[in-house]
């Protein structure tokens, strides 16, 4: 799809989230709730003792039954639907022909680790902090956006072999 058209579609979805639910779009938050519920299921005493996890289980709350968690299940469904319509459904590892599958997967893992760690610190990722934040004119949104893109440009030189 033309990028400006796709951007308009994304903007309308964001506007709908603001109008219907009074909030923006998010992705890393839902991931956090998945992890919190796994930790709660595996080692509940640890979760109750931790100042971080305990707040998600207070008053019998269930971290999986949460707006952000349900939203990311929707993201996967919506992506699948789009891929099916545009005939892009296929199991594959996407990478530069110059690198091995193993290298691509190691960097994919590290990238996810860094990204979501940073997103927890900044209270949101490219969607929840940067995009949604900019749409409500929050300073945090603009600062996070500049920090993410500025840092990626700075580090791009070091990881260029993976991509170009």
């Amino acid at each position: 799809m033309n990028p400006y058209l796709a951007g308009t579609l994304l903007g309308i979805v964001l506007l709908l989230a603001m109008f219907l639910a009074g909030r923006g779009l998010g992705a890393s938050g839902g991931l956090k709730y998945c992890v919190v519920s796994i930790v709660g299921a595996v080692d509940r005493p640890h979760a109750d003792r931790s100042i971080y996890y305990s707040k998600y289980f207070e008053d019998g709350k269930k971290p999986l039954k949460n707006w952000l968690t349900i939203e990311i299940f929707g993201v996967v469904a919506g992506g699948f639907l789009s891929g099916a319509i545009s005939k892009r459904l296929k199991f594959k590892i996407e990478k530069s022909p110059k690198i091995t599958n193993t290298r691509r997967l190691i960097f994919a893992f590290l990238g996810g680790l860094f990204f979501v760690y940073g997103a927890q610190l900044a209270r949101g990722c490219t969607s929840g902090a940067a995009l949604s934040g900019m749409a409500v004119l929050s300073v945090a949104g603009f600062v996070t956006m500049i920090a993410i893109f500025g840092s990626a440009y700075l580090f791009a030189w070091f990881f260029r072999k993976n991509w170009i």
Binding site: A108, G111, G112, L121, A122, R123, A152
Partner: protein, 200 residues
């Protein structure tokens, strides 16, 4: 009159159904934008494909104009829409860590989800890394609590800091975006990599 869920009391199942539908729209838009491809996303940082900036700023501007129009016609109370709180150090340090993750993994969390939904195995591993990152954050939280909660400024708005109206700020942002789109088009020509862009 919006936001619907704060102005009228809606049952929990309806609130979660809204979450699901918004998520479907979000995932659909990301995938249609081509964001299920890490090589397309990474193109932003090497100049051969600048779809990211075009989609990102178009979406922000559409939502900004739309929300201000709805507010102007009394259909949306913007005081009830969540505004991200500003923790100076956490936003900057978190953003820098995210940028490093972006260039290593080739995805951000939202685009990673859209990519795994169409079968990208690298995105599934990115997702596993992301879960590990959230887990590490929770476990290291006591040590970084100060950084995470320090320099708190509240939900400050950029137009208020600059002392201008939301409308004027949006207008200036549109001008800046058009300039960036123009530079982005030039960059795509200068750093063109047909060997990559024909594949993705």
């Amino acid at each position: 009159m919006g936001p619907i869920s704060s102005l009228i009391s809606i049952p929990e199942w309806l609130d979660l159904l809204i979450a699901l539908l918004i998520g479907i729209g979000f995932g659909f838009a990301l995938e249609q934008a081509g964001f299920s491809s890490s090589r397309k996303l990474a193109g932003m940082f090497y100049g051969y494909d600048t779809t990211v900036i075009k989609v990102f700023f178009t979406a922000a501007i559409v939502a900004l104009i739309g929300s201000q129009l709805l507010s102007y016609f009394g259909l949306l109370n913007l005081n009830l829409v969540f505004v991200n709180e500003f923790y100076v150090a956490a936003s900057i340090v978190g953003g820098i860590i995210m940028g490093a993750g972006f260039i290593m993994g080739g995805f951000c969390p939202g685009t990673g989800l859209s990519a795994l939904s169409i079968g990208k195995i690298d995105a599934m591993i990115f997702f596993l890394g992301g879960m590990t990152g959230a887990f590490l954050f929770a476990e290291t939280y006591p040590f970084i609590q100060k950084l995470a909660n320090g320099s708190y400024k509240g939900p400050v708005k950029i137009n208020e800091v600059m002392g201008i109206s939301p409308g004027l700020f949006t207008f200036l942002l549109i001008i800046a975006a058009v300039a960036m789109f123009w530079i982005a088009e030039l960059a795509e020509k200068k750093f063109a990599r047909p060997d990559i862009t024909n594949e993705i």
